[in-house]
Amino acid sequence: MIVAFTVNGEAVTARVAHPGSLLDVLRDELSLPGSKNACEQGECGSCSVILDGLLVCSCLVMAADVEGSSVTTVEGVAADGELHPVQEAMQRAGAVQCGFCTPGIVMAAIDLFAGSSSPSSIEIKEALAGNICRCTGYGAIVRALEGLATGGEQ
């Protein structure tokens, strides 16, 4: 089947193999490989995107269900050559190692800051509890986002 939806502000149509996920469509049909597939079960958050304003694991969303929806992926959060403040804070704090979890962390953090400009340390941790990072131990990620929350690093 063909689904029509909006990705990063652009109207797209994509062929969907049943029962494909939104993640499959983004990566394989729309050449948007920024969202990563690491567990296929919604446990690790590497595939996180924002779907109609909600943070979701795109591996758990049936592609057929996104007809008419609006999706933002990591490729769409900043203009070419620019960084979203979350990305900038993470770069400065050294919060990237292998980087496989990074797009999902960026999306979860953007979702957090969209709802609250100055989240507390515990709010930051709760917001990112669905994202597994195997490299950093999360320390630099927390420092990046705490800095952003207090404005100290902005």
């Binding site: 193999a17 990566r27 948007l32 490989p33 920024g34 969202s35 990563k36 597939n37 690491a38 567990c39 296929e40 079960q41 446990e43 690790c44 590497s46 992926t73 990591v74 490729e75 900043a78 960084l83 990305q87 993470m90 770069q91 400065r92 050294g94 990237v96 190692q97 292998c98 980087g99 496989f100 979890c101 990074t102 797009p103 960026v106 515990i122 941790k125 709760e126 990112l128 509890a129 669905g130 994202n131 597994i132 990072c133 195997r134 490299c135 950093t136 131990g137 999360y138 320390g139 630099a140 990620i141 927390v142």
Partner: protein, 740 residues
């Protein structure tokens, strides 16, 4: 002719000792960094693997016809189709590329399929009809040893074997099977070159060893196979061994099309080696003051079905069985057994982690027997530079600041007790199961030691090339960046040596440069960093000598205040310098396990603060304070990243990460069931670095990747013991171990 311009650059930014941003950070943050999973090629096919559902079975028949009958399927290959050497292996080639007569572990590959799309490949793989005659699997290590199913035995005897101490502590310990669980699963793309050869772009820690093994099993000439470094989502040891590499190349050459494969997570758990589970029996004897008089250890590790690196892991377990302590009467007997459990091999800490849990548990018990402070006991016995290794007798001739580690750790401030912790930070977490009034806090310490670089006489080297282009300098290497930050530190080293800002790292394939060795054993900063430093230093010397200057920067060659050759003039001719760097030679052990076995060592210590819910047996690791011997920190932020990340893997091993086996079958091969620490499980970490020059690494640097994982599990368990009063002789510590 010379040009006079105002001198603009005095010294470059981003040299050693600073923490410049990673060159790959922005593409990774923007989702633009290309990982093996993201590779594509025109006309690309997708591959899938048929795996054994049995831990052990005779293969009676394999019928590929039903798979080949599926539309869009281009190939289905079995053991009979392996063109060259039928087996592979890092140290001893004993693992079939595809199982032919017998499968020896759950998930062993039997056939491979290539099809037009991934879905078709998976469906076709499910249709391959393999007739199995199940055989009883050998899964008990003790039984394996009794049957002499052994990869290696290692016997260490040092000093007077009759020495006895007045205080004796004995214990038995067990370590479960941990998985590296890198976020990126195994993935790769093989592209036939049209003239019988193949280019392989696949997840790896060591492309030259992949290339050698592909060459052998495909029966090709070495120049026909090029293995390319590619973007990797973590490694931690899981990518040292071949898995999909030979399969991809077989399918690409068979079909004449590029072939891609990505393991799903469940397949990844079956598709790479794991940390060896271990069974450890110890006897420590000390005098009345607490000096270690004798240590006896018996080490059994389960290598699973095939050799992988079991013999080297066993060696590490045995050589570091005493820990960073002086002792002149030592007996260690180690064995790595062969079973029908999943193959085990490299994981961060490589044999040193398992024994550390045991010897540090013993040290705490010894301290209790002596009514001594656990750190006082450790300080009294601290192994220092100049001492002989307690096991091998090797004189330690690089810095080993064990005493400084202990003293600094002791001096670090403890966190205040939190009177009303947020529920998410209680042992029961957001499940709201923990009654805050019942929570008990515990504090525990542990120290660990490990070798850096390869040991036992292995010819360990790394080649790097530094060349100049119109834009600056390029460091060419086949060393794999797995996320640790080698790409940054090589730039820093080259900048420092050359004196210029504009340095990049280029990851080149096996045909363009000699081996950098494996990204493992905490070795790349020292080995590839050493090669880069020497190449850059020599190149600068040649340029200055040829062009008559005393200084190089991004604008060109200077003599005093005069620019004698602008950059454009320098690069009118070709400049490059290639260096193969070797660490000091090591030797194989003698019949008593004695010798100059190791090239360098690092020591670290951890203090864990935990909160325990004794009713439910749940643990929250609140904080880890650590002191680590780093030689010289070339990039402090990267060192901190390695420390924090390595500690969390140690915390995972201490309290949650374990592959559960039943008759050789992994019962929890998913991220739902194999638990990994989340951000809410992560402790606060405070780290102090001990910097002492004297190692042979560039500028005195030591590798820093593994020590954080070695003693952190033991420290966490010591803290849980302090809180719970339980013995806890096994990691990971399970709720029932505390609550029941």
């Amino acid at each position: 002719m010379t040009t006079r311009i105002e001198r603009r650059v005095t010294s470059p930014d981003g040299v050693i000792g600073q923490s410049p941003a990673r060159p790959d950070a922005v593409p990774k943050l923007r989702g633009e960094f290309e990982y093996a999973q993201d590779l594509t090629a025109d006309g690309m096919l997708w591959a899938a693997t048929v795996r054994s559902p049995h831990a052990r079975a005779r293969i009676v028949s394999v019928d590929v016809a039903p798979a080949l009958a599926v539309g869009g399927v281009h190939a289905c290959l079995t053991a009979d189709d392996v063109p060259g050497r039928s087996v592979f292996g890092l140290e001893h080639p004993d693992q079939p590329v595809l199982a032919g007569e017998e499968v020896r572990y759950w998930g062993e590959p039997v056939a491979i399929v290539a099809a037009e799309d991934p879905r078709t490949a998976l469906r076709a793989a499910s249709l391959v009809e393999v007739g199995y005659e199940p055989l009883p699997p050998l899964t008990d290590p003790a039984e394996a040893e009794a049957r002499d199913e052994v990869f290696r035995r290692l016997r260490i005897r040092r000093g007077d074997q009759e020495r006895r101490g007045s205080v004796v502590v004995e214990g038995e310990y067990q370590v479960g099977m941990q998985d590296q669980a890198p976020l990126g699963t195994e993935a790769g793309l093989a592209i036939p070159d049209g003239v019988g050869g193949v280019d392989l772009h696949a997840t790896s820690q060591f492309v030259h060893i992949d290339q050698e093994q592909v060459v052998a099993s495909l029966g090709l000439r070495p120049d026909q196979v090029r293995a390319h470094p590619t973007g990797i989502g973590g490694a931690f040891g899981a990518r040292e061994d071949v898995n999909l590499h030979i399969h991809l190349c077989m399918l690409a050459l068979h079909t004449g099309r590029p072939v891609k494969m990505v393991y799903p997570r469940a397949e990844s758990f079956a598709g790479h080696v794991h940390r060896h589970p271990a069974w450890l029996r110890y006897r420590h004897e000390a005098d009345e003051e607490g000096r270690l008089v004798r240590v006896e250890a018996r080490v059994v590790i389960d290598g699973g079905a095939y050799a992988s690196t079991t013999s080297a892991v066993l060696a590490n377990s045995c050589y570091f069985a005493v820990g960073p302590y002086r002792c002149d009467s030592v007996a260690v007997d180690g064995v790595g057994v062969r079973t029908n459990n999943p193959p085990c091999g490299a994981m961060r800490g490589f044999g040193a982690v398992q024994v550390c849990f045991a010897y540090e548990s013993q040290m705490d018990r010894l301290a209790a027997s002596l009514s001594m402070d656990p750190l006082d006991l450790r300080e009294l016995n601290a192994l220092q530079s100049g001492d002989p290794m307690p096991t091998t007798g090797q004189s330690i001739d690089t810095p080993l600041p064990t005493r400084e580690v202990i003293q600094s750790l002791r001096a670090m401030p403890l966190p205040d007790a939190v009177t009303r912790p947020h529920h998410s930070l209680l042992p029961g977490g957001s499940g709201l199961t923990t009654e805050p009034r019942h929570v008990r806090r515990g504090i525990g310490y542990a120290l660990g030691i490990k070798n850096l670089g390869f040991s036992e006489g292995f010819d360990d080297y790394a080649q790097a090339r530094v060349l100049l282009t119109a834009d600056g300098a390029v460091v060419e290497t086949a060393a794999i960046e797995v996320g640790q930050g080698l790409v940054t530190v090589l730039c820093q080293i080259a900048r420092t040596a050359l004196g210029i800002n504009n340095v990049t790292v280029s990851h080149v394939d096996t045909s363009r440069i000699d081996s950098a060795g494996s990204t493992s054993a905490s070795r790349q900063t020292q080995l590839s960093g050493g090669a880069t430093l020497e190449a850059a230093t020599r190149l600068r010397g040649r340029i200055l000598s040829r062009l008559g200057g005393d200084h190089l920067d991004d604008s060109g060659v200077w003599q005093g205040e005069e620019l004698v050759a602008p950059w454009t003039q320098i690069v009118e001719q070709e400049w490059n310098e290639t260096v193969t760097f070797r660490h000091p030679p090591t030797s194989a052990p003698d019949e008593n396990g004695q010798g100059v076995i190791h090239a360098d060592f690092a020591v670290a210590g951890h203090r864990a603060v935990v909160d325990v819910d004794p009713d439910l047996g749940l643990v929250k690791v609140i904080r880890i304070d650590t002191v680590q011997d780093v030689g010289v920190a070339l990039n402090p932020d990267s060192v901190r990243g390695q420390i924090e990340g390595g500690i969390l893997q140690g915390v995972g091993l201490a309290v949650m990460e374990e592959l559960i086996l039943e008759d050789g079958v992994i019962l929890n091969p998913t991220f739902t069931d194999y638990l990994l620490p989340t951000i809410l499980d992560a402790p606060d970490v405070e780290a102090l670095l001990i910097e002492q020059e004297g190692s042979w690494g560039p500028f005195g640097a030591k590798g820093v990747g593994e020590p954080p994982t070695i003693s952190s599990p033991a420290a966490v368990v010591a803290a849980i013991r302090a809180a719970s009063g339980k013995e806890l002789n096994r990691i990971p510590v399970r709720p029932q171990d505390i609550a029941l």
